[in-house]
Symmetry: C2
Amino acid sequence: MNIDTGMVNAFQEGATDLDPETREMIERRKALLGPAYRLFYDKPLHLVRGEGAWLFDQEDNAYLDAYNNVTSIGHCHPKVVEAIATQAGILATNTRYIHGSILDYAERLLNTMPDEIGHMMFTCTGSDANDLAVRIAQAYTGGLGIVVTETAYHGITQSVSEFSPSLGANVDLGPHVRTVPAPDAYRQGEDMAANFAAAVEAAFADLKRHGIKPALFICDGIFASDGVFDGPRGFLKGAVDAAHAAGAVYIADEVQSGFGRTGDALWGFQRHDVVPDLVTMGKPMGNGYPVAGVAVRPELVEEFGRKARYFNTFGGNAVAIAAATAVLDVIEGEGLTENAREIGAYLQDGIRARAEAHPCIGDVRGAGLFLGVEIVSDRAAKTPDAAATSVIVNGLREERVLISACSKTHNVLKIRPPLVFTRENADQFLAAFDRVLARIK
Amino acid sequence: MNIDTGMVNAFQEGATDLDPETREMIERRKALLGPAYRLFYDKPLHLVRGEGAWLFDQEDNAYLDAYNNVTSIGHCHPKVVEAIATQAGILATNTRYIHGSILDYAERLLNTMPDEIGHMMFTCTGSDANDLAVRIAQAYTGGLGIVVTETAYHGITQSVSEFSPSLGANVDLGPHVRTVPAPDAYRQGEDMAANFAAAVEAAFADLKRHGIKPALFICDGIFASDGVFDGPRGFLKGAVDAAHAAGAVYIADEVQSGFGRTGDALWGFQRHDVVPDLVTMGKPMGNGYPVAGVAVRPELVEEFGRKARYFNTFGGNAVAIAAATAVLDVIEGEGLTENAREIGAYLQDGIRARAEAHPCIGDVRGAGLFLGVEIVSDRAAKTPDAAATSVIVNGLREERVLISACSKTHNVLKIRPPLVFTRENADQFLAAFDRVLARIK
């Protein structure tokens, strides 16, 4: 594990068990791309092709992708490929000219949101979306103070990296940022929701005590990097109320939990009976085409919009909108939110059934096709076992099944298959999981 | 003009001379996208199709595009469309897996740079590229202080907007930012280079006087928003030396001036006999596909890379690289840098020839196909004439020729045709220019 950079499942320099071609490509990468890039796995993968839930390496070995949250409707979905190819041949220009498709798409998206949310703005990445949302929130509140969970990831711009503690101890948090413990129902049980709300309240109070006016509370809809905390439903409400009471707005970061991923609705926050002030989205929005955005209550952006025009060269261009429209068509047309709920529950039940024979499985949780499996060395004490977690992640890679891990203690399996995952895919996953568990037992 | 947001050529609310369809779409845009978006022109354009140097509105009227700096090798270039369509059907995943094409492309790009620059990192937008470059520069120098020109535009992230004064007076500059006057050879003559270097030196001294350690000097290779200042060649060197003497690094922002635009070489800075510490690039890199990047001297990123891993979900994905590779193939294969030099000179001569009869043309300048034409009300006093500039820009739009304007005083025509502009296109431009000039005379 690369603790210093906070990254779980990173390839380590100096690994010996690599074939010459892989070793050579890693060296070439280092020479050309420099030292900041990281690869997954003890033995990194060289992938050349993708189709549906499958990825293929240079020898055409098939890997079951149970991790990639971008190509959420399946790698190279033909409807998205066609939409991109067609529109790229017609027009790809920017929002300083009028174009119809961006309006139709914005309208469709806004129709999936609570009525209070009325405008849609477009960026290219989730990082940019959070960066813009924070600018708007700070302009609206006149404050700077930000409260996040302690292993949150919200993005990579300078502003957003300052409130993305999962980037590791070497990336400084801003002086205007406070962290709160993750809403860990596994360890806190019924006290969790009250604890979480109290922590958010205290964090804003501490900001004020230091002369920093509150601006925003931001969390993603499934606490993706904190360890996948999905429930109980509604637990988020107290924290959001605490933020509002402090004069802050609530940004729902749906970059990972959005677009049907959590199985109940298109957006993760909808499981919690809360209405966000801003909603950010990205990753799966274009199934690989860079497109992202911010949905916002009109009153928040009124003054900002008048005073500080927003323009993003590629954000909302006609090709991005074509890709995003095709993705939404497929999610709705093929019932993928429902599939995520159904197959997610099936997969979760399957993993839970393994817990009896395998005491390392401390907890199985999640919503839809976003699952977390807590790996522990002592089930009674709930002791995180990062080493066993790494063995499972890398063991599954040897079984040609791709997942990763998360949480502050690096011991939660992060399982995030495409929304097109079938029951057969789930069975394939579980069979590989059995083989790996048998080896580490 | 929308002075409050610093935007030249913005559509103004309340314009009356609009057809009902345009009016309805503008209303719908406002309702759905909110108040932060701006349109070009007194009469905004609804564009539906593009091909080469031409854009087409919903009635299939053709507009000669002499402005769009993204689709630099022509709208919908078939080789780029094909590259995107093909790769989107094969694989679009991220840099946490090994892939060959990103390495081949990085190698090609680095071969176009000075030897000192050794690594290439990928983002989606020029804003992200500048955001990352600043993070690296600040980490390397241990300083925060930034010096920019007074009407610079470097991007839209929170961090980058703090040193993009062209966003207007309502977007605060950071307390760690100092501005210097643009290198205006038209008004300063032979003193300009020395003035510019002295201003940069003084700005860094002022930062130090306020306890702010210098981090970086950033400028684009053609001073695109400041008013298009191309020469004399080499004038940048003194300013770069002053930055280095202050302990700061020099970021060459090639988002607008890169990829052959300035006609002499692939990069704008190469006209000035300077070696940047970081080079950022974007807009035309994928001819519309969102792809951007940072080239950097290895020593700058060594510690940053070890401590603060960099990952960008879409940055450097295989489709982005395929688009960017096709663009570079076309620029090199079709000799577009040379074409920019040749047609740019022809166009500049043509405009200069009009100056005799039209005293409003105060100065004609630029490099390659990035031209600036200074519009003045008094040629001797060089008095900026923003009103006449707006009349020309909107007059050309009525003639179905697209350009825009820039500079602190909003009086410089910004003419930036695609690199595939032909002599015939230049003649079409000049004919329309004549008709507009005749009307305002």
